[in-house]
Symmetry: none
Subunit: 616 residues, 2 copies
């Protein structure tokens, strides 16, 4: 329900801000002082774009503390030092911050701001809704009440199912509420089968890879449920496509061939990121300076060349769907570290993040776990709408669903992705840092397009199928064939800005763009066109229950610093938090999801046994 109305002229409706806004009468007008791009301790990074992130974060913090929201902003004024009208970097971040809300806005270029080094400042006028009338509860008789259980688990993805498995073993009672009509969350395996093209084989629309070295939880479960393991092919050549579209082969694991100075700079930057990430404790990442910078600003401050930045852009796009200017440097380094480092996380070989697949598709783990639980503990198609934490004053939680049911539990484990938290009505409200997390976390653009071909023509030409591109549409391509099923597949990772552009095309144009890129990368235009069978894809960006994205929500500068080292995992009252983004190891991966479920279950089991409520 929009509270602020906009005034538009015939020509203005397309702008991301409005010519004028009208606050309803009887709202409280709130004026927000100029917010600079500083961290909570006052650190001001030298980088302009990092300051934009931090200033908007500071604005968001004030809104949260005031009980207001971005949609309550009636006017924004931004002050910019050294403003360059040909390079309006602020619009990207403001549009993301506003998320479709359109306040009135004025941009004021200035020669300096209140303190040396401030490059960006934003102030705002906000129409804070007057104290909201209490939401009318449905009459008790209209809601189906369920008996109290020890643990209520929200989400039947890998984290939720793993937590259920642990809780079950501990002998506690529990229920799992799952919004979707299936288990598995962001693992989802779809059988292929097109008339006349032969049936058999599955594609993973979501998570696909595990390894047998340092992802023991995931690997053990896959084996337990009978996975036929497929190893990633890394024996042929890889291909790099540079910013000008020139394609060059290179050996797996080597730096692509640019000029000597560029190649050595790429290697230097790669090694620096590798070394820097290993200085971080992924359980308690704390480095205000690194968290004050975007990953791009961090790289630039270390003298990264354009090609090194383009290379790093391939990393962030392929790993998170994000561009380096949208990520906190500390967040990205922590993410790498959680997977054992940049090199290991990016690797397709033994111990790497993309080493092994399962012929049956990776949803098999979730299905296997679910099959081991008793009947009826999993309630499918039951989205949660509200969580009343400590409703009875005795730590008991009441969870209401959109289906009109009330579930009661001593403990709740939420496994929903952080953007989903913002769609659930918490009573009392989540603490400010948790609200900040839920509001400022975001996915990039990340879609896998599985391109099915009649033959593995790239293998026949001596390629392993792995490619990188500085221009796209696909940033990275990997061979995800299932040879036992006779299915030859290149999985294209459409990510970041080039992915968004690709997504704006028609389905036919999307297919053509990828067939063309594949043909060019492997010098096989003829074969790619001739052997193309079909494209299989799923747009997680439209999936509300994943939080509108995939594989893992990420954080811009300043959020980790505000949350504090382990803040993401802090329980609130009787509500505990799991999900792959809360993992210490292999965050964003299936392994991380499973471990987060174990960890949250452990917290809950311990608290219920000790009888002491978790601290608020």
């Amino acid at each position: 329900m929009p509270r602020i109305s906009t005034i538009d002229l015939a020509t203005t409706a397309g702008a991301y801000y409005a010519p004028a806004t009208v606050a309803p009468a009887n709202t409280q007008m709130m004026h927000i002082a100029g917010q600079p791009g500083s961290t909570k301790s006052g650190l001001v990074p030298p980088d302009y774009e990092s300051q934009i992130h931090l200033a908007l974060l500071n604005l968001r913090k004030i809104l949260i503390v005031a009980g207001a929201a971005v949609r309550d902003i009636v006017k924004l004024t931004v002050y910019i030092v050294n403003y360059d009208p040909t390079r309006r970097l602020h619009t990207r971040h403001l549009q993301k911050f506003l998320a479709g809300h359109r306040p009135a806005m004025t941009l004021v270029p200035v020669t300096q701001l209140a303190a040396p080094g401030w490059l960006f400042e934003v102030d705002a006028v906000v129409a804070r809704p007057a104290a909201l009338a209490p939401v009318p509860r449905l009459l008790a008789g209209e809601l189906a009440h369920h008996p109290i259980v020890d643990v209520l688990i929200v989400g039947a993805g890998l984290a939720g199912l793993m937590a259920a498995s642990e809780v079950q073993q501990a002998g506690l009672s529990y229920t799992i509420l799952e919004a979707r009509d299936r288990v598995g969350g962001k693992t989802w395996s779809q059988p292929m089968g097109q008339e006349g093209e032969g049936e058999g084989g599955l594609v993973d629309l979501g998570a696909a890879w595990i390894n047998d070295t340092n992802q023991r939880t995931a690997y053990a479960l896959a084996r337990r449920f009978g996975a036929e393991i497929l190893e990633q092919n890394t024996s042929g050549l890889c291909v790099i496509e540079d910013a000008d579209g020139v394609c060059s082969p290179f050996a797996y694991g080597s730096v692509p061939k640019f000029s000597d100075s560029i190649s050595s700079d790429i290697a230097r930057i790669r090694d620096m990121v590798e070394a820097d990430c290993h200085t971080i404790d992924p359980a308690r990442p704390q480095n205000p300076e690194l968290d004050s910078l975007t990953f791009e600003a961090y790289l630039r401050s270390r003298g990264a060349s354009d090609e090194a930045l383009a290379t790093a852009t391939v990393w962030t796009r392929a790993m998170l769907g994000q561009d380096p200017r949208d990520l906190s440097a500390l967040f990205f380094l922590t993410y790498c570290k959680s997977g054992g480092g940049l090199m290991q996380m990016r690797s397709d070989r033994k111990g790497g993040g993309q080493h092994l697949r399962a012929r049956q598709g990776m949803q098999m783990i979730a299905k296997g776990l679910a099959d081991e639980l008793p009947e009826a503990v999993i309630r499918l198609s039951t989205p949660v709408s509200a969580i009343d934490n400590n409703s009875g004053g005795d730590g008991q939680v009441e969870v209401t669903t959109t289906t009109g049911e009330v579930f009661r539990a001593r403990k709740v484990i939420s496994t929903v992705p952080s953007p989903v938290l913002d769609t659930i009505s918490f009573q009392p409200k989540l603490p400010p840092v948790k609200q900040l997390w839920a509001q400022s976390t975001s996915y990039g653009y990340y879609t896998k397009a599985m391109m099915v071909f009649r033959s593995p023509f790239w293998v026949q030409k001596g390629y392993c199928g792995l490619t990188q591109s500085f221009r796209g549409p696909a940033a990275v391509i990997r061979d995800t064939s299932s040879v036992p099923d006779g299915k030859y597949i290149l999985t294209c990772f459409l990510t970041g800005d080039p992915g968004r552009e690709w997504a704006a095309l028609s389905t036919k144009a999307r297919e053509e763009a990828l067939v063309q890129q594949i043909g060019k990368l492997f010098g096989a235009e003829l074969e790619a066109t001739r052997d193309f069978v079909q494209m299989v894809t799923y747009e997680w960006v439209h999936d509300a229950y994943s939080g509108w994205g995939c594989p893992c929500p990420a954080l811009a500068p300043g959020v980790l610093d505000t949350l504090g080292g382990g803040g993401i995992r802090e329980p609130c009252g009787s509500v505990h938090f799991a999900g792959t983004e809360t993992a210490v190891e292999w965050r964003g991966y299936m392994e991380g999801a499973l471990q987060s479920g174990q960890r949250a279950a452990g917290e809950v089991i311990q608290a219920l046994r000790s009888g002491v409520p978790a601290r608020l």
Copy 2:
């Protein structure tokens, strides 16, 4: 009823803005985004002052669309690039825009604005009155209701009387509502007669000249009603007073003698304006580039010298009471074109705008027309307060007067000057473009002071009486003697900024200033002082029923472009618009008023005959 109150200190009451403003409770706070000086299609003229006009126009547009008014503004912030504190050009235009309303205000000099070329931006906070309670209608019994007529004509000036004459001939029923206690509108002839100085003769306080060549409607009526025609004297020398006060004679129709280069530049600019105005269709003026500029900016952009600009200033002042920086270039060129071109409109000779007068005074035309109408169709002293357009849903209009009467008609012809439209309560509101017209149209300063002398000493010295001055107080003087009455008169045109300064003097000081200027111009200080009898003048600027000015409202940049070519004449529902400012030929003249009345009557007669309501 002022809705915004101001907070003042002892020293601040004289400022055009207030130290603080207070919005009443229960208003909706509206925030307006920074408005640059661009046209509706986004054109940004290179000229600073033109941008000020356009930015304020854009602000006004938003106010209109929002249902708010200038008097609802509580705070203005203006942003100025290359601000020069010794040349505060914005104050003139802001003061005119605010029209006495005093918001709080901050001026922020900046080095640039959001887009290249933007030199001025304004944003605002507005306290929009909450949805107004419907105006309580007087009880039916308190209002005198009149039977329905075919046509109700608002205004018994030349346009209204001419329309009535046509409607009468078409056999339709009608009533004329006139606010004043006389007919004639901006034609008003006053008998002279001072004890001991001899009686007889009239002076025209308003419009005075017609011609017998291309003003056939006015001339035919004057002859029909028995006018004794007086021809303007152009046989002697003219005088020019330059910016330093040096007076030089020159032959009528020639360019005054400056240095050769200056004289040729003046001739060049004059010829350019003449040529440019002939490229315009006065019925549908459309040229966004010319309408984005002030007339001054247009002249400067064509390399006009200071003297050429001063000459052009004499034109705009004598023709409209305006300075070139207050007028849209397109508007002024259209105005010239409507009178057959700059040269013809300014001419006192055959075919020119100031060729013939009537010994009886020009109000005789209005009186003659009124005398031909039946008794009682003209209701004097009956100002209109409200027009309810389509009150019954069947196209019927209800017109309420300040005298507590309700008139009903199938059609209404409004002949009031556009500023008066803004004082009438329309139900439903006029469409946004008509509101914009009514709110942004304005007169300059324009007062005729008739200086009566005992002898025509200027004629005796070889002058025709026509003078121009770059400094004032009178920009132009013309001989308006009535030789048959033995009355020797110089009519001084007090216009624009020098006119406003003169108006601030006492009556005695005004007289002295003009006697002194006349003495100097004609080298006749002695005679002017000795033979001065009296000054007769009327300040149209205080006349609410003329819309606070004379002879014709004018438009600043951007308005014509927004109205569209013929937008001024578009009817709204059953209300049609006449008045000299709507004329295609001789706009601002009696001929234009008469023709506009004919045109509007034609629209109404045709619509009533066809039975099809005019399109909304």
